[in-house]
């Protein structure tokens, strides 16, 4: 391994790429070559370092300086100052966020990192980085010091539950698959993270792929599987590349293949890429897709642990579940079980999005309250607005309100409150979000993603969507709410798989907590949050308008007229209420009424 005096890690997740991370990498390389430093300093691309809100981010090790917000043009200056003269460039230094380092404590208050511990810390494309931080030691421990039964006991005792959302105890699933007397057995990793607003698994796959692979190998040893598939969605091309590199390196080092570590245990692995079907996140649909069929779910039983891929026993877990395993084996079940609540142990990653000050990825112990997550970890609601609701569990989850803020987060508490843990998306909504519109948005999603195999889901979701659309259009009638409730009940009771069973959840939970908004739409023909287009109108406040013409230039239907430096006017008949003018106006001169 070549020796470098310094390493520069540049974040290349989609958000930093959008701000020119590739240009930064190129500029750094060029500049190091120009300055003759290229043999001393290594430039690495890594997954997210932290935040990403400040533009391209990079870390300089061993000093541990965090620079952000620079452009490619700033690089020559930065290289000269920092790497030649040894002076810190305060202008780009990020000091508000402490550096991700386990010894220094977690990134944000209240955070505990297990799954995310290596993300942004190591080069995901170099297995030696992972080995340097004791990677694959857990595998060694499992193979040499533990029997498969002992591994399962350890995972069972740790209380690790399926992180894909349903929360089935991982150890129990492993035992079930182990006990089936049929060979070969398969390991499947569900990396089809399709929930809108969730990107935890993507970051783990891009930043620390070996932890997932190691977890899968340990699991394969425990259940006696000989082959594995990681099913990754096509929307994550970087993750697919990283995984393929990682698998190749693991094979070269003898962690995959025949006679792993010189034992008689054989296991190999490949990545299968999806093709943009949300329903493939459902385990039976996912396995159908691996087998090259339409990704349609099948009724259970038989469960995958009995009859899965190619009709053989298959163990199916989520990315996050697997990446917890090496740590559990190394540090022991008791350590893992010391975190969390009575029935939900360990930590959970959440992707916090929507109207919060610091959106992003977090990992917190189970049992933390929503209030702590939203107001302490994520910094509260953006622009000082009022908290209205938080949507958990993706399109099959529900909306939780003010009264649920102090709920301790675990699988049971969330499902009792009418939502679910799901894979971990948290979308926070402020007072400007219309709950009927949100419900319609989710129904639009599930309706489009329904695979069409069973009638309740195929037809039911469409009928629910039509009713919601009618209400949003201001054409709702007396009795529509009851019709919605009935339909939701039927669809969730009679659908074949989790998609249909969960699809009505957003509607039911908003109906439960925000019934008054539905009523305002139907009976008063009014959208309280001023979102639903047919129910609002836009007007320009004559005294505030400066006549800068920016609104009239941006109006897609040319409904705004007026002379330069004169107050403008919106032609209500032509206006489609798209709201572009409100967004582009620099003087807040356009008001929305309902």
């Amino acid at each position: 391994m070549a020796f470098y005096r310094s390493h520069v890690l540049v974040c290349i997740d989609p958000e930093c790429l959008a701000k020119g991370a590739h240009e930064i990498v190129d500029a750094l390389q060029d500049e190091f070559v120009a300055q003759g430093l290229i043999d001393e300093i290594q430039v690495l691309e890594t997954s997210r370092i932290g935040g990403c809100s400040g533009g391209p981010e990079m870390m300089v090790y061993p000093e541990g300086f965090h620079y952000h917000g620079m452009t490619a043009d700033d690089i020559p200056f930065l290289v000269e100052e920092h790497f030649l003269k040894g002076r810190i460039v305060e202008r780009f230094r990020e000091v508000s966020k402490p550096i991700v380092d386990e010894e220094l404590g977690p990134l944000r208050p209240k955070e505990v990192r297990i799954v995310l511990r290596n993300c942004g810390q190591i080069d995901p494309n170099n297995i030696e980085d992972y080995l340097a931080i004791d990677g694959y030691q857990a595998l060694g421990k499992a193979l040499f010091e533990m029997t498969p039964e002992k591994v399962i006991d350890e995972v069972l005792n740790s209380g690790l539950r399926g992180r894909g959302g349903a929360g089935f105890p991982a150890g129990r699933k492993w035992r079930l698959t182990r006990q089936v007397n049929d060979n070969p057995k398969y390991m499947v990793c569900n990396a089809d993270e399709g929930d809108p607003g969730a990107f935890m698994n993507r970051r783990v796959l891009e930043g620390d792929p070996h932890s997932v692979i190691e977890g899968m190998i340990i699991g394969a040893y425990a259940i006696g599987a000989s082959y594995g598939y990681i099913y990754c969605r096509a929307e994550y091309p970087v993750a697919v590349d990283t995984l393929n590199i990682a698998i190749k390196q693991a094979r070269e080092f003898g962690f995959l293949g025949n006679n792993i570590f010189g034992t008689d245990f054989n296991f190999d692995l490949e990545v299968r890429v999806g093709a943009g079907a949300f329903v493939c996140g459902e385990e039976t649909a996912l396995m159908a897709s691996i087998m090259g069929k339409r990704g349609e779910p099948n009724p259970r039983p038989p469960f995958p642990s009995v009859k899965g891929v190619w009709g053989k026993p298959t163990n199916n877990n989520n990315v996050e579940t697997y990446s917890n395993v090496p740590q559990i084996i190394s540090k022991g079940a008791a350590w893992y079980a010391s975190m969390g609540t009575e029935r939900s142990k360990g930590t959970k990653t959440f992707a916090v999005g929507g109207n919060v000050v610091k959106p992003g990825l977090i990992e917190v112990p189970m049992g933390i309250t929503l209030r702590e997550i939203i107001f302490e970890v994520a910094g509260g609601i953006k622009d000082g607005k009022k908290y209205k609701a938080v949507q958990t569990g993706g399109p099959m989850g529900g909306c939780l309100t003010e009264e649920h803020l102090d709920l301790p987060l675990d699988y049971e508490a969330l499902s009792q409150a009418g939502s679910m843990m799901g894979s971990g998306g948290l979308v926070v909504m402020d007072e400007n979000s219309c709950m009927v519109d949100i419900a319609r948005f989710f129904m639009d999603f599930t309706q489009a993603e329904s695979c069409g195999k069973c009638t309740p889901c195929r037809v039911g979701t469409r009928r629910i969507l039509e009713l919601l659309q009618k209400i949003c259009d201001g054409k709702g009638q007396d009795g529509d709410i009851e019709r919605l409730e009935n339909l939701c009940y039927e669809v969730s009771r009679n659908s074949l798989c989790g998609l249909g069973q969960g699809a009505p959840n957003p509607v039911l939970s908003t109906l439960k907590h925000f019934r008054h908004e539905y009523e305002a739409h139907i009976y008063e023909k009014r959208c309280p949050a001023k979102v639903c287009r047919p129910l609002i109108h836009l007007t320009i406040q004559t005294p505030v308008c400066t006549g800068c013409t920016v609104c009239s230039r941006n109006c897609p239907v040319n409904a705004i007229s007026g002379e330069r430096r004169q107050a403008h006017l919106i032609d209500q008949a032509a206006c489609i209420r798209c709201g572009i003018c409100v967004q582009v106006c620099n003087f807040n001169a356009i008001s929305v009424e309902s």
Binding site: E15, D195, P196, R272, V273, A275, G353, P359
Partner: protein, 168 residues
């Protein structure tokens, strides 16, 4: 199937030597692997950009499976296209965070500028507008994906620049 393989339109990738090589290679490489259909289709879609009916028939025959199965898979997954797309694609992320942050307004602006609907291609074959599922860049919302590049925090008034850049 026979009809589809006899009457291949002139502009079909099966009639273009280099593209036919891509299809043949994908089939040869994956033929023996279990679940080969998805692997071949992913490869072909990625390299050629669409899978026409005659290509489906050809792949089915080479893999020795019913064409109905290939067609079923192609039409099930949203990544597989049966018609060629424009030279460039602009995809609008329809994730929750992007929806809340104003992607609908961006779509409105794009439709007005290019005079096409979502899913359509401009008459000159340059730009296709599409919606896509969450790309996982939620803290950059609203997000559009221009070809492979994610562009975040977009406002409708910045849209003309993007289209100009795509058109070169």
């Amino acid at each position: 199937m026979t009809r589809l393989l006899k009457e291949i339109p002139n502009n079909d990738p099966l009639n273009i030597a280099e593209q036919k090589t891509i299809i043949d290679n994908a089939i040869v490489q994956n033929k023996e692997r279990p679940g080969a259909v998805m692997l071949v289709l992913n490869e072909v879609q990625g390299k050629i950009g669409h899978i026409s009916p005659s290509m489906q028939a050809y792949i089915a025959r080479k893999l020795n499976i019913p064409m109905g199965q290939v067609h079923g898979v192609v039409t099930f997954y949203s990544f597989f296209q049966t018609k060629p797309r424009g030279k460039h694609t602009i995809k609008f992320c329809l994730g929750t965070a992007c929806y809340v942050a104003g992607v609908p307004q961006l779509i409105e602006k794009a439709k007005q500028m290019l005079n096409i609907e979502l899913g359509q291609t401009t008459p000159d074959g340059q730009i296709t507008l599409e919606e896509c599922r969450c790309v996982g860049a939620c803290s950059q919302a609203p997000v559009v994906v221009v070809d492979e590049e994610v562009q975040g925090r977009l406002r409708p008034n910045k849209f003309p620049q993007i289209i100009k850049r795509v058109q070169g």
